[in-house]
Symmetry: C2
Subunit: 311 residues, 2 copies
């Protein structure tokens, strides 16, 4: 296997994760979570969304969160910016990177925002232009790139088309997101290779949900075609708000365990992330969705006993 | 990726799975479980263990289970046979394959059975000879091949040494088992390649526990070096009896979803397995550990509604 030596993990728990949790999370918990993640060594944390609080009340305290977190040189804080109002809020709050988004599925776009993919992305043109003018990093996120809850299959050319549009808006980084977690490795490689034909391989990222347990395999498959940026969520925060019991983002701990086991560097302290996953799970009263987190916490709890054996 | 076109799944839920569940499972539930799995298309099911009921009360009804299950041509039923008494019981019960076992970890062998690896495997010589004489298929299972709860690292040469000993006993198939689920893909490939230097690649199997969430990635990594037999447990039955909350065997549903998604044939009906996973989880009162199982059951339950979207 030829693999990248270094992988950048974008920790999306504080935004993509918490946004899809039922519990309303107090601002001080979000701040503590982000500070712990910063201390653990992440270089990029998705910290807030500057979307209307009418639509996403969970993210209404974005400016407050951004104002209260500790900044560490070398850690970029990203914010979702659905429109110019959101962009201005994000800039005022000191976001290092703004994120725009679109679906690769026409059915998803029509059903959710009542316009075509092309129109939805064109609407971000002012945000993109403003980001370029301010010299703020711009990231584009492509949802439903491996499948859609409405239309099922999403053709590769549809993903590539959105990659091209986002490149034309000046995106510095583009996420290929398996929003509903249905992708499998061969298809993931096909999509990643096609995307890389239109955009720099080292600025493409994989965002995999673990709904069908495929996320780590899809990350491994992506690594094999040279992808070196992945999104992950501490303790697997998040989920599908409409599918009870379904798992959300891949757990950061599980990704780090695999990468470090393969000799790939991340600069992140896995044990610190496991403790953070324990903190946030307890703080918001949910089960820890990270298998590595559960296994290591159990092991540490029994540390003074002889190590157990499984049959 | 070059991959096998066909993969044989050995369903180990009725034995390795149930043996590590806390609930005592009634014989009729075991029989129903196995019959459903046979109907779903499995060609190999680990059905029983002929070990002393004093040590493993959960498996005491092995002969009864074997007597009551329906036999379908093309489905082999395997049984663990720790000694000649167990072998005779298994043969009398009509087992198609007997399974012998040993650890690749010296510390594990000493701690658990108070003898060296070499001695523990030599003890199986009469069972192996009897299996050959009877013309019964013989499988050898190597535990702790990717790590040990007592000694930690297990050297590759220690695995290879056990492979060689099992080959010499006449094993038709050999399992490389990550008993505690600690392996990661690069190491898995290294171990599999080394084992394949001593034994036929197409009769080596991968047995991965999902304790650290790595099982599917390790299966993918194994496929890439040509391994085409994998063990899996419906609903992820099993677990580490000493590690609360830790996951056991990789869930069959999750493996099938990945393989079928990659165009690899198994001859198994995934939807039937999901229903079986739901049956056994409810029958023994445990959470379903298959992510595919949970996702599909949720989706089917909401089938008449519009499919949901995750943010």
């Amino acid at each position: 296997m030829t693999m990248p030596n270094y992988v950048k993990i974008v920790e999306v728990g504080p935004r993509d994760g918490l946004q899809n949790e039922k519990a309303m999370v107090p601002t001080e918990v979000k701040v503590a979570l982000i500070n712990q993640l910063t201390d653990a060594g992440f270089v990029n944390i998705e910290a807030a969304s500057f979307v209307s609080p009418k639509w996403v009340p969970q993210m209404a305290d974005g400016a407050d969160v951004m104002a209260r977190i500790q900044r560490r040189p070398g850690t970029l804080f990203s914010a979702l910016t659905p429109n110019m109002k959101g962009f201005e809020g994000a800039i005022e709050a000191g976001a290092d990177e703004v994120v725009i988004f679109g679906a690769a599925s026409e059915a998803f776009s029509q059903k959710n925002i009542n316009c075509s993919i092309a129109e939805s992305i064109a609407r971000f043109a002012p945000v993109a232009a403003a980001a370029k003018e301010k010299g703020v990093r711009l990231r584009g996120s492509i949802s439903c790139a491996l499948g859609c809850p409405y239309q099922g299959e999403v053709p590769v050319h549809a993903v590539v088309d959105v990659v091209r549009r986002m490149r034309e808006l000046g995106c510095d980084e583009i996420d290929i997101a398996d929003t509903i977690g249905v992708g499998t490795p061969v298809r993931v490689q096909e999509v990643m290779r096609a995307a890389a034909a239109e955009f720099a391989l080292d600025r493409l990222s994989g965002h995999f949900h673990d709904t069908y347990g495929q996320a780590l395999s899809n990350i491994l498959a992506s690594l094999e075609v040279g992808i070196s940026i992945f999104h992950a969520s501490v303790a697997g925060l998040g989920g599908c708000p409409y599918a009870k019991g379904a798992t959300g983002n891949v757990a950061t701990e599980d990704v780090l365990y695999m990468l470090h086991g393969m000799g790939i560097h991340t600069g992140i302290d896995l044990e610190a992330v496991v403790r953070t996953g324990d903190y946030i799970s307890q703080a918001i009263g949910r089960a820890n969705s990270s298998r590595v987190g559960r296994a290591l916490l159990t092991k540490w709890a029994a540390a003074s006993d002889a190590a157990p054996a499984c049959a």
